[in-house]
Symmetry: none
Subunit: 426 residues, 2 copies
Amino acid sequence: MAPEWHSTPCQFADFDNFIMNLDTLYSELTLKTKTKMVLLVLDGLGDIATKERNYVTPLEAATTPYLDAITQDAVQGRMIPVAPGITPGSGPGHLALFGYDPLEFQVGRGVIEALGLGIELKAGDVAARANFCTLDKKGIVTDRRAGRIDTAVCEELCAVLSKKIKKIGDTEVIIKAGKGHRFVVVFRGKGLEGPLTDADPHHEGAPIPAVKPVDSKSAKAKKAAKLIVDFYAEALPLLAKKHPANGFLMRGIAHQPEIATFEERYLLKPACIAVYPMYKGLAQLVGMTKLEGPQTIADQFQRYLDEYDNYDYFFIHYKYTDMYGEDGNFEAKTKAIEELDAALPILLQKKPEVLSITGDHSTPCAVKGHSWHAQPVLLTSPISGSDKLDRFTETGANLGSLGVFEAKFLMRQMQANARMFDKFGA
Amino acid sequence: MAPEWHSTPCQFADFDNFIMNLDTLYSELTLKTKTKMVLLVLDGLGDIATKERNYVTPLEAATTPYLDAITQDAVQGRMIPVAPGITPGSGPGHLALFGYDPLEFQVGRGVIEALGLGIELKAGDVAARANFCTLDKKGIVTDRRAGRIDTAVCEELCAVLSKKIKKIGDTEVIIKAGKGHRFVVVFRGKGLEGPLTDADPHHEGAPIPAVKPVDSKSAKAKKAAKLIVDFYAEALPLLAKKHPANGFLMRGIAHQPEIATFEERYLLKPACIAVYPMYKGLAQLVGMTKLEGPQTIADQFQRYLDEYDNYDYFFIHYKYTDMYGEDGNFEAKTKAIEELDAALPILLQKKPEVLSITGDHSTPCAVKGHSWHAQPVLLTSPISGSDKLDRFTETGANLGSLGVFEAKFLMRQMQANARMFDKFGA
């Protein structure tokens, strides 16, 4: 069960002293209305101004005539993805954008990895990140990454395991190779639950520890832990002669949580138009329909036009801002923003009632990775009002009427702009 | 007893898992000091900039020399009335301005309606919104609004009921007509409590359902529910020949909650100078003294001068900004702001130590109703500092040092500016 979180303005207690989530209030006020909303996510959009780059960010450096035109009738702000100073992975970053408190709805790393590899998880599936390692004759881990074997070798080994281990008892086992020495194992059966401790000593020179339920009282977690033991018993002999990949470690072992679907929470029919499996997976986690096919942002916008009548909410994901931010490639990140801007007129052929453009977090070029810096956000609707800013930038967003706020509230702002909330109190 | 609240940065838990309210901390730090504070509420003040109005809001369009002069030595910010995206009614809007968390102190609709009609409620009174309806011979509701009878007819029918039903057992019954088919019933007795479910099928073609306690374990609510049944038994025969108003529905049945008075919370003697009953009622809910009489803002400011020595805190309410916002009348809302500005020199004859000017929420002309948009707030005191802004406007407030914050904290800012808080920690 998800932990109870107590944060403002997020939660309150009712008269029976039962802790009630602010989500419940939002739900009670939610009206079923006709609307078209678009959440356009430029992954890792946020950046920082530094002396080396003459205090200009990629968003500021980019030539963005279409974004600029939208900005005139929009409000801006900056969003804290999770909590001040916390750098999120893609999972928490996107759950927050979808309006789910990323602290309440924690999704295990194994689940995220499985989603990232395109495995269609079901509620209750237990997933683990795994990677091949090298064991000595006594079972001591001598190389946690098995000499960083090639992806091709990893795929071959996973095929060996998959072929021999299809089931353990009545539980289905799904094994899928990732990059290099990495793979994912999913257990699909009844009465399973995570999280479990890692089957990983986290340093060389020690044996693989046995996994244990994090909650020692959970019978379901005990069953899952037993499965891992049985899986090791069947799998290790198959790898015995595969040195340096004669063993494997498992981490982040968790189950796919039961999450109220996006449609249940918001009374909106959602669709996801993403290119990369991870983001499709995260959308699927909350029950969005995946619209497959498009490979470019222009194609993605075209697909939105084609499907306009079929959904109420469209999550459109653009990866390249994050990718080039991770590379520290300022010019490429700037160009990625310009390419998205150039395609915007396609989206705007049927302007949604509510359009929000933002990132799931910042990926500053100077950091070469995800960061905690609040990402800029833009929101426009016929009743959003205007902050009278000429451009959508980090520094401009500092002047916006939305202020600095937690990303999980963006969805609530979008709903309000779609007139989806009844008045609170008389 | 007030429910326990769990919020950040408002609340915290100690190691024994005892939840402590941030209000408790504020109370502990509160010092008794001599001060004069004024909260000047321009109801529904906040607005939005739209293309149709050349991106100017009423506050920006208005000529406000006296407000401008105050602004030089003031700080500004924007306030979220309840939570992001939530549009408040007048009740939650004002409770927040008075420093009471509007999620913690929820006041039933019946109570608000009774206050709005000028009934002086006491703690424990159970109040219901009611309206006349039409019943057929089998007791089925055929018109939920009794053909929208005139106010005069409603008053006549309420007089009939009032005359015959003064008490039920030892419980006093107070009946007061509102507009059209609407009226209010208050039950004043011992050991009563709400909320109850509605005596209203919410659609035609069904009988009036029996009310039930929302909390089935509450003996007090059971007693209140029984009273409603007895009230119907006595009242319906009196209306039998009054077709189309031969029945009535009751909704929002709730008790006036026990709320720590303003004076208890803040050690300040408060007065309310309002024109409309609803706002007097809300002030009375927290124990403010109502200073009756003034009908114009100039009169209200004059009354403040006259009563300057008798109170520490003055809540002055100005209705017209909201009224014209609801009408979508931009020019009238602008003019209402100018009229208030013209009267400001009266108030400033005895400048309060702490003066805050704001709205209880936004009522944008383009929305023609209350909205969730954060309202601008201005605060001035000898130690407020200055944000060096020339005017008090929505866009200017975005740049203020108060930032975007929850309205319930305004009172704390006012107290701080009156040096009412001791230092926290060494």
